[in-house]
C-alpha cells in the first residue's frame, strides 16, 4: 500500500483543522439539540432577492460575467459604500465581486504578502484568518484582547507585536466571536498606529449592518486611511445570504488590479445569476435588513440579560449575533464546558479557544435562533450551571 500522505504539500499537511469542525461532528449526531453554535442568520434570504435571481435564470443569464463582476452590481456596491459609509470607490476599477467575504480576504492577503511577512490578527477572531494568511505565504501574528477592555485591542498591544516584517493588521468590527463593535475613537487609535508604522489595514466589515447601538464608521473613511485600507464586505450576514457565497472587496486601484489578476486566474467570476439577486438586495433590501436588525437587537438584549442573570458574565456586544460569556467561574475549560453542556443538556455552543488562545475561558453563543429556542436554551444552561455548582460543593464536602 502506498502512503498517500506522502503526496501532500507541507503547507496542507500542517494546516491545523478548524476547532469548530470537531464540535460540529459531535453535535450533528445528536437529536433534540438547541444550537447556539450557528454562525449565520436564521432568516431565509428575502423573497424579492430570490425572485430576481429565479427570473435571471429564466431569462438565460447563465454565462460568465466580467472578471470583477457585473458593472451594474459594482455600481450598486459603490453607491452603497458611498451612501452608507461615505467612502468612494470607482465601480470600474476599485471593486471586485467575490465568492463571499472569504475569497475577498484570500485575495487581499495574496495581493499584499511577500513570503514571511506578518499580519496582526486581533483575537479572538474568525477561524479562517490565520489559515488564510499562512496559505498566502505570510505569517499570522496573534494579538490577544481582554474581556476587561471589551475585547478591544489597545495601541500598546499592537506596537508590542510589531516587527520589521509586519505588513498589515486585520480588524473585524463587529467581531466574530465577541460581537465587539469598534467606534470611531477605537478605529482612530488603530489608524494612528497603522499610519505611524506604514501598515496596511484589512477591515472585515461583513457584520457592519448588524450594529445595534452606535453608527457604523468604516476604517477607510478616516483621515489618512483610504490609501492603506482594504475594505471587505459581503451579502452573507446583512441580507441573510450565506449560502449564495457573494461578497466583495474595495480598495485603491493598484491593489484591486493585483487582486483582479489572482481572481481571474483562480475564479474567473462570481456566479452570474446570483449577482442579479445581489443587485436587488442593494436596491430594495433596506427595509428587510432593518427588520432583521431590530429582531437581532431584541434577542441580543434578551440573551445578555439572561446569561448574566444565571451567572455567566458577559458584556453587551455592539453588533453581529454573538455573545461571548465568561465561563471561568465554573472551573472548566471552554472545551470541557461546551462538551459537557452538549452531552448533559443538548445545547451546542462553540468553545472560545476555537477562535484563538485568548478565547479560552469563554464560549461563543449565537443568538441567531428563535426566541423560543433561546428561552429554552437559557433554562437548560441554568440547569447545567446549577448541576455544576452542586457537584463542586459535594466535592468540597468529601474532601
Amino acid at each position: 500500500m502506498i502512503d498517500v500522505n506522502q503526496f501532500l504539500s507541507k503547507t496542507a499537511a500542517e494546516l491545523p483543522p478548524s476547532g469548530i469542525r470537531k464540535f460540529f461532528d459531535v453535535a450533528a449526531q445528536m437529536e433534540n439539540v438547541i444550537s447556539l453554535g450557528v454562525g449565520e442568520p436564521d432568516f431565509i434570504t428575502p423573497w424579492s432577492i430570490r425572485d430576481e435571481t429565479i427570473a435571471s435564470i429564466e431569462e438565460g443569464y447563465t454565462s460568465y460575467t466580467a472578471n470583477p463582476g457585473l458593472l451594474e452590481l459594482r455600481q450598486e456596491i459603490s453607491n452603497y459604500l458611498k451612501n452608507r459609509f461615505n467612502i468612494e470607490y470607482d465601480p470600474k476599477n476599485q471593486i471586485i465581486v467575490t465568492i463571499g467575504a472569504s475569497q475577498a480576504l484570500d485575495l487581499a492577503f495574496r495581493a499584499i504578502l511577500n513570503p514571511g511577512e506578518e499580519v496582526l490578527i486581533i483575537e479572538p477572531a474568525f477561524v479562517s484568518y490565520p489559515a488564510l494568511v499562512t496559505l498566502a505565504g505570510g505569517k499570522p501574528v496573534q494579538v490577544g484582547t481582554k474581556a476587561e477592555n471589551g475585547f478591544k485591542v489597545t495601541p500598546e498591544q499592537i506596537e508590542e507585536a510589531l516587527t520589521p516584517n509586519t505588513k498589515a493588521i486585520l480588524i473585524c468590527s463587529p467581531n466574530n466571536p465577541t460581537g465587539t463593535f469598534l467606534n470611531k475613537d477605537d478605529l482612530t487609535k488603530i489608524a494612528e498606529v497603522a499610519i505611524k508604522h506604514n501598515l496596511v489595514v484589512i477591515t472585515d466589515e461583513i457584520y457592519a449592518e448588524l450594529t445595534y447601538d452606535e453608527d457604523y464608521v468604516s476604517m477607510a473613511s478616516l483621515p489618512g486611511m483610504y490609501e492603506r485600507t482594504i475594505t471587505i464586505n459581503g451579502f452573507s450576514k446583512a441580507f441573510a445570504m450565506t449560502g449564495w457565497r457573494l461578497g466583495y472587496v474595495a480598495a485603491p486601484e493598484a491593489l484591486i488590479q493585483a487582486m483582479l489578476k489572482i481572481h481571474q486566474y483562480t475564479t474567473m467570476c462570481a456566479p452570474h445569476m446570483l449577482q442579479h439577486g445581489a443587485i436587488e438586495a442593494l436596491r430594495n433590501g433596506k427595509d428587510q435588513v432593518e427588520e432583521m436588525q431590530r429582531s437581532y437587537r431584541r434577542r441580543r438584549n434578551y440573551i445578555v440579560s439572561s446569561l448574566n442573570e444565571i451567572g455567566l458574565e458577559c458584556h453587551t456586544p455592539g453588533g453581529a449575533f454573538y455573545v461571548f460569556p465568561s465561563i471561568k467561574n465554573t472551573g472548566l475549560t471552554s472545551q470541557e464546558f461546551a462538551e459537557q453542556l452538549l452531552k448533559k443538556e443538548r445545547v451546542a455552543v462553540v468553545p472560545g479557544n476555537a477562535f484563538g488562545e485568548s478565547g479560552e475561558g469563554y464560549i461563543r453563543c449565537s443568538y441567531a435562533t428563535s426566541m423560543e429556542q433561546l428561552q429554552e436554551a437559557i433554562i437548560r444552561i441554568d440547569r447545567f450551571l446549577k448541576s455544576l455548582n452542586v457537584k463542586q460543593e459535594q466535592v468540597a464536602i468529601e474532601k
Binding site: S18, A27, A28, V38, D42, R294, A348, V350, M371
Partner: protein, 167 residues
C-alpha cells in the same frame, strides 16, 4: 397618537408574538418589567392594541371545518352618516368577521363565516341583501388559505436548514 421608541418597539414585539411574558419583553427592550406593563396597559386603553387573537387553522380540526366567504357589497350611503350606519348594521351580526370600506368598484368588503355553504348563503340572502341600503352583493367563497394576517399557514420554509455548528 405619537408613540415613543419604546412603545413602538413593544408593538412590534407583540405583533409578532403576544404570548411572550412581560419579563422576556423587559429583557428584549432593556426596560423594567413594570415599565413594560405600564406601556402595554396604556396601549390597550387607547385601543392601539385592539385584541390578541390566535390564528387558527380550523380546517385541521375535525368537525370544525368552516366556510368563509368574502362578499362585495354595494350600498346607497345615507345623508349625514355616510357608510357608517350600514356598516354597523352589518358588523353587528356575529357571522360577520370583518367589514372594510373599499375604494373602487364596490363599497363594503364583508367576510362571513359559517358552518356550511348553506348557512353562509342563507345569511347573505336573508340577512345581508335585505338590509335597506344594500343594493347588490357578490359572494366569493374561500377555497384555501395560504397566508393570513402576514402569517404563512403551511410554508415550505419553516424548517431550519442550517448546519448545527458553523464558524
Amino acid at each position: 397618537m405619537k408613540l415613543t421608541k419604546e412603545e413602538l418597539e413593544i408593538l412590534y414585539i407583540l405583533e409578532e408574538n403576544h404570548r411572550l411574558s412581560t419579563g422576556v419583553i423587559a429583557k428584549q427592550t432593556q426596560l423594567s418589567e413594570e415599565k413594560v406593563e405600564e406601556i402595554i396597559k396604556k396601549l390597550e386603553e387607547n385601543k392601539v392594541i385592539v385584541s390578541y387573537p390566535a390564528i387558527i387553522d380550523w380546517s385541521k380540526v375535525e368537525g370544525q371545518e368552516n366556510v368563509i366567504a368574502m362578499i362585495e357589497v354595494n350600498v346607497t350611503p345615507k345623508r349625514g352618516v355616510g357608510f357608517d350606519e350600514v356598516a354597523e348594521r352589518i358588523y353587528r351580526f356575529p357571522e360577520v368577521s370583518s367589514v372594510y370600506l373599499m375604494s373602487g368598484a364596490f363599497d363594503l368588503s364583508v367576510t362571513v363565516e359559517g358552518k356550511s355553504l348553506k348557512e353562509v348563503a342563507t345569511f347573505v340572502s336573508e340577512k345581508l341583501s335585505t338590509i335597506d341600503s344594500v343594493v347588490s352583493t357578490r359572494t366569493h367563497f374561500i377555497l384555501k388559505k395560504y397566508k393570513h394576517d402576514g402569517v404563512i399557514i403551511e410554508g415550505k420554509e419553516n424548517k431550519d436548514r442550517r448546519m448545527v455548528v458553523s464558524p
